[in-house]
C-alpha cells in the first residue's frame, strides 16, 4: 500500500519539478510564437492595421515574390555563412593554441576570448563603429601606410568584422571542449609513427574536434542570421538584414502581419539550414566518434 503511494508520488515528482520551467516556456515562448504565427496570416489594412478576424496568405506570397525581400534573405544567408567560416578559421586554431598553453597564460587568454560576452552588444557595436568610421583608428592607420580612406562602416565588411568578434567565443568554447576530451597521447602516437606535425593535426587532431567545430559553426550561423543590434548599428539605414527588416516592418511601416511573416520565414529557414547541415556533415562522423 505504502509502496503504491510512494510509486505514485515519484511519478508526479518529475512533472512538479519541471513545472515552473515548463510554464515559463509555454507562457513566454510558445504562446507569443503562436500569436505571431496567427498575426502573420491576418489581413493588413493601412488604416486600421491588422484585422484579427480575416486571414490571408498575401504576406507570404509578397515576401517570396519581391526581389527586395529575397535579396535581404540571401544577404543574411551568405553573411552568416561567411561569419561562421571565418569563426572556424580563427576560432579552431585559437582553441588549439589555448589548450596547449600553460597556466597562467591559458586562463588569462581564455578570459580575453570570453570578454566580448561580458560587454553589452550595443556598446561593442558602437565601439566598432568608432574604430571603423571614416575618422576612426583603422582608417587612420590605413592612411598612415598610404592607403586612402576606405569606406568600411555601413558596409557588409563592418557587419562581418563585428559579428566575428561577437561570435568567436561560441566557436572557441565547443572546440575547446572537444580538445579537452582528446587523449594527450594520440599526437605523440602519430609523431612516433613518422607523421609530420601538420599531418598529425590534419589526420588525427582535426577529425576528433570536428564535432566541436560543427556545433560551433551551427551556433554561430544561427545567432548571426538572427542578429539584430550589430547589423542595425553597423549596417546603417540601407544595409538590411532579416532581423532589421522585421523591426522596420513593425515599427516604421506598422505592417505587423508582414513583419510577423518575415520573422517566421527566418525561423523556418534557420531551422532548415541548421538541421540539414547537421544531418549532412555530422552523419559522417557519427559512426567513428559515437
Amino acid at each position: 500500500m505504502s509502496q503504491a503511494t510512494s510509486g505514485k508520488a515519484s511519478k508526479a515528482t518529475p512533472w512538479l519539478l519541471s513545472g515552473p520551467a515548463l510554464l515559463l516556456f509555454v507562457a513566454l515562448l510558445l504562446v507569443p510564437l503562436l500569436l505571431t504565427a496567427i498575426l502573420s496570416f491576418n489581413v493588413y489594412d493601412p488604416v486600421v492595421g491588422a484585422k484579427s478576424g480575416e486571414f490571408t496568405l498575401e504576406h507570404y506570397t509578397h515576401v517570396f515574390t519581391d526581389s527586395y525581400y529575397l535579396g535581404i534573405f540571401w544577404r543574411t544567408f551568405w553573411m552568416s555563412a561567411l561569419v561562421a567560416i571565418i569563426c572556424v578559421l580563427v576560432g579552431a586554431p585559437e582553441a588549439y593554441v589555448l589548450s596547449r598553453m600553460g597556466n597562467p597564460w591559458r586562463s588569462i587568454l581564455l578570459l580575453v576570448v570570453l570578454a566580448p560576452l561580458l560587454v553589452s552588444v550595443v556598446v561593442r557595436a558602437f565601439g566598432w563603429s568608432m574604430l571603423l568610421g571614416p575618422e576612426g583608428l583603422v582608417n587612420g592607420m590605413l592612411g598612415f601606410v598610404g592607403i586612402g580612406p576606405v569606406k568600411i562602416l555601413y558596409t557588409e565588411t563592418a557587419v562581418i568584422i563585428a559579428l566575428v568578434h561577437v561570435m568567436l567565443p561560441f566557436m572557441v568554447i565547443p572546440v575547446w571542449t572537444s580538445l579537452q576530451k582528446l587523449d594527450p597521447g594520440v599526437e605523440n602516437a602519430a609523431l612516433s609513427l613518422r607523421a609530420s606535425h601538420f599531418t598529425t593535426l590534419r589526420r588525427v587532431v582535426l577529425p576528433q574536434v570536428m564535432p566541436g567545430i560543427l556545433s560551433g559553426s551551427l551556433i554561430v550561423f544561427g545567432l548571426s542570421a538572427s542578429s539584430f543590434a550589430i547589423p542595425g548599428l553597423l549596417g546603417g539605414r540601407r544595409l538590411k538584414m532579416v532581423a532589421t527588416i522585421v523591426y522596420d516592418e513593425y515599427l516604421h511601416e506598422l505592417n505587423w502581419p508582414l513583419g510577423a511573416a518575415i520573422a517566421l520565414i527566418l525561423l523556418a529557414a534557420n531551422l532548415v539550414v541548421m538541421l540539414s547541415y547537421n544531418r549532412l556533415v555530422e552523419g559522417r562522423y557519427k559512426k567513428a566518434l559515437g
Binding site: 597521447g185 594520440v186 605523440n188 602516437a189 609523431l191 612516433s192 609513427l193 613518422r194 607523421a195 559515437g290
Partner: protein, 372 residues
Amino acid sequence: MSFLKLSGVTKFYGDTCAVADMNLTVEKGEFVSLLGPSGCGKTTTLQMVAGFEPVTRGKIELEGRDITHVKANTRGLGIVFQTYALFPHMTVSDNVSFGLEMRKMPKAERCERVRDALGLVHLEAHADKYPRELSGGQRQRVALARALVIEPPVLLLDEPLSNLDAKLREEMQFELRQVQRKVGTTTVMVTHDQSEAMSISDRVVVMEDGRATQIDHPHRVYEHPRTRFISTFVGKANLLEGRIVGNGNGNGAGGARQSVQIGALRVDVDEAGFSNCAAVLLTVRPEKIQLVALGSGRIDGEIGERFFLGSQWLYRLSTSVGDLMVLTPNDGRPALEEGTRAAADWPDHCTRLLPADGRATVADVLPAGAVS
C-alpha cells in the same frame, strides 16, 4: 656492440632532477624493464628515448648512431602508450596502417602487412571495428600491432598493462613476451609492477629517485638486491638491523664468511665486503624461512597472525629481534594456529647483507651495467 645505449643521460625540470646520470646498454633482441615507484624517472627516461622530452645532458645512441637530438617523428621507434592512444576516429586496420601510410608504402603491401600484424595479436576478426567497440585487452593489442607493424628497431612500452584487470594482465604479460620473442624486437618497458617486470624481462633496471640503483637479471635482482629499497620493493623481505662481529666460523670453502650480531642472535652469512663493527641490514626472504620445532631453529618466537594466500600461508612470527614474515607452501600439512610457539630457521646462503643506511656501496653500483 650494444644496440641501444644511454650514457650519462640526465633530465632536469627547472631545478628538479628527474633522471640523474642514467647509463644503460640494451642488446639486440633483449627485453629490458625499467622498474620503480611512480615519480622515479622511469617514464621520463622512456620519453627521452622516444624523443618526446629533450635530454638535458648525456647521449642516446641507437645502432651506434647518436639520436639524442633527433626529432621524435624521424626516430622510427614503436611506442605503446599507457592509454593506448589509439586514433578513435579510425578503424583498427586504419590505426595499424597509419604508420605504413606515413612511410608511403603502396596499398597492396600495406594491406598485407596490416593483416600479418593483426594476425600476430589475434585480431583479424576485428579489423573493421572502431577502438571504442573493443575491450581493454583488444585495444592494448591494437596498440601493440600498430607499434610493431612499422618494424621498429626498438619497441618502447609505457606501462602497457596497467589499465587492465588482474586476470587479463597476466594473460597479456604472457602474450606480450610471446610476441616479442617471435618478432625479436628489442624492447624497453616501463612498469611499476615488480611481478610484471620479473616475469617477462631479460633484465630489470630498478630506479629510485631518478637513479638506476640496480641493473640485473630478474633472478639476481630478487636474490641479490643491492639496496634496502630494492629488497622491499621487489618481493617481500625481512630486514634485521645488526652489526658485523668479525669473521664467521671459517668453514666456508673459499667463500668469505662474516658474522652478524642482531640482538641476542648471531648469524653467519656467505658475504664479504663489510668491515668489522659496520652497521648492516640482514635481509631474508619470507619463503626462505622454515618453521621448525621450538629450540631447533635459529630463533624462537610466537605466531602472531596468519594469512591464507591460497597456495601459501603467511605467518607473522614475533621474536626477540622483531617480527619475521614467514611464507610456507600450502602443501597439505595442517597450518599452525595463531599463538603457537615455533622456531625460525634458514640456510646460511639465503641471507644478504646491506649497508645499514640503505644506500648501495660504490663498489656495488659500478659493475651493474657490465652484467648483460
